[in-house]
Symmetry: C2
Subunit: 372 residues, 2 copies
């Protein structure tokens, strides 16, 4: 897989009232677009995802793309059937224009001056990518978590350009608890002295400690309590509980979290993290539809597949049932599956037979229509 880059020179009007004169989007594609351009599937990523959703960039790569379990030949998003498009969202830090990019107006990195983005801005920039690729209508727009919010927004903003919508482990809006976790993560970043009001690049530094803490909070809450327990329990990595040992005990779960935090903070941009979590918090599908989700979905023309996981407590099954119920109230076609899983929110990324079956079955109907 080799990433490609789309350079857009037409200005993009943003929800916040500002606009971007030009921007670039980095993306990958898997499979072949058919003659009618009717078999294209858009993958929308979540908080820390990228355009590298499947496959390997080189033989040396240790890990494949982030959703390789579900994208590939014979997999639910079957690259023998579909032309799959995965991009790094605007505001990201994996190649698309974002806070680490140069602001043409100043010749320096955007940093904290990068515009505040909403989910609809991603949808609109993704539509430009679709135009460039000659895709008038997606066979499906698919996403988990924040990606599911983009998939839903697509069906409202561009109802004629989405035939099917797959919404996994997502929500029509976040709960107060979810916002509170994101806020604490953001506070850890912005109160890091190396944050420098967001101008850390200009100061040749990075709020790594804050970003690591943000990631640690994320990690705990995206896993289930039982999942953490099964994986780590109270296993001790160093130190001792023996009487007469004046040493600090380090649990396995501690070293794991610290390691995850450190790896993440070495590779991710803090301003992007702030931007992504704010887009999550601000998303409210029905805000401009009198807070009536059924009224919102009335615009949609897509068929929907909604999936949740039993132990996901940040995007709980209740949130997905609300989506399904709003779709039913709007008289839309929806299939809803609640998958037994022990892996919390992370389940949407992990192999699971039932999940795979549900996902495959739905995508087979999409393929049958797309390739007829």
């Amino acid at each position: 897989m080799t990433p490609q880059t789309l350079q857009v020179t037409e200005p993009l009007a943003l929800a916040c009232g500002r606009h971007l004169d030009s921007y670039q989007l980095v993306y990958e594609t898997y499979g072949k677009l058919n003659a009618k351009a009717s078999n294209a599937v858009l993958i929308c990523h979540a908080l820390s995802g990228t355009h590298h959703a499947a496959g390997y960039h080189s033989a040396d790569d240790k890990k494949p793309g982030w959703w390789d379990h579900y994208i590939g030949p014979g997999k639910p998003i079957d690259t023998n059937q579909f032309f799959v498009v995965a991009l790094n969202n605007l505001g990201g830090c994996a190649g698309s224009t974002g806070p680490t990019s140069i602001n043409p107006a100043t010749g320096e990195a955007w940093g904290p001056d990068f515009p505040i983005l909403r989910v609809r801005d991603w949808v609109n920039s993704q539509a430009k990518l679709a135009d460039a690729l000659g895709i008038q209508c997606w066979a499906a727009v698919v996403g988990g978590s924040l990606g599911g919010m983009q998939a839903m927004r697509w069906t409202l903003e561009h109802p004629d350009r989405v035939k099917n919508c797959v919404v996994i482990a997502s929500a029509m809006k976040l709960t107060a608890q979810n916002i509170a976790f994101n806020e604490t993560a953001r506070h850890a970043i912005t109160s890091d002295p190396n944050f420098c009001d967001g101008n850390y690049l200009a100061h040749n530094t990075s709020p790594k400690q804050g970003l690591a803490i943000a990631r640690m909070i994320g990690h705990i809450t995206y896993l289930s309590g039982d999942g953490l327990g099964e994986r780590f329990g109270r296993d001790v990595r160093s130190g001792s509980f023996e009487q007469g040992q004046d040493s600090l005990v380090e649990f396995q779960v501690q070293s794991y979290l610290r390691y995850q935090g450190d790896v993440f903070s070495d590779n991710f941009d803090a301003n992007t993290y702030l931007l992504m979590t704010r887009a999550l918090d601000y998303f409210d599908l029905a805000r401009e539809y009198n807070d009536d989700a059924a009224q919102a979905f009335a615009r949609a023309k897509a068929r929907f597949c909604v999936v949740s996981f039993t132990t996901d407590w940040r995007f709980s099954p209740e949130r997905s049932r609300e989506i399904a119920q709003a779709l039913i109230a709007a008289n839309k076609s929806v299939c809803y599956a609640e998958i037994e899983s022990n892996f919390g929110h992370d389940a949407f990324l992990l192999p699971d037979q039932r999940y795979e079956q549900v996902f495959s079955r739905f995508m087979q109907t999409v393929s049958a229509e797309a390739n007829q």
Copy 2:
């Protein structure tokens, strides 16, 4: 209420193998000790509690002690019936010897050199306080959360000195998830540049930002998701969602958390916070009893009352049921109540009619025996 201080000059051997040559414990008492000294109740505090459990210190006080809902005349822990003792634990920062106290060996604050404490160390120092007050046997030892761990440990370490034991919203050991949250909180503190390896007092500073983040994590997780939702929802405090408003939106729940974090970090010692959370993480009631809780409780002579709250997800009802089951297996007297509450772990501090009824009824039987 006026706090008193006990100065202990007899050395205290600690579980870590070190000892304290001398130390002081600050405490308050409510009610009167009867002639037989049989009506004394010990209150064990949790993470951030103090000796000021009930009543007011002066007419100017804005808030009473931390458990004033449950301690006082006619309340469950009825000060007309009981002589109630509440202390600040060793290692605390409210007056008892702890990391902010002067280390006699150096003439400077202990700071990070203060010994690592285990729950049993608190129990043993509380026993010295009992000796000093002429209390051979407690009518009851009572605690919530980390305080409940102390209450349980009392019944194993000093079985003849505890007639009744009330364990509220507690656990025999923490789960991996709980440890993970504590670890993230500790990491926020220790990675704050003002932490100075724990020697912040010597540097005339304080890791306030880290401590505030630790408290924010605590706050979210000690409340239930529904409780946060009912209290704050997605209400906005400042900023706007209107199109064309390039402003950051601040949710009510954000300002609340930041405020709570700031207030706490102005008033609490970071090394004490580390010490208290480590005691929580390290506690494992049955570790030295072949990991068999029934075997551990076989030593106990007390009658038990165990209480949990339905939406408490850090010390879930399941953990309390484990305590009750181990007590039953050990053939001990136990009453267990699971209280419907929307307030998560914090419920143990808040007014609630059912909780009050259960608690009062149990304490009435304690009083009947104590004062006969």
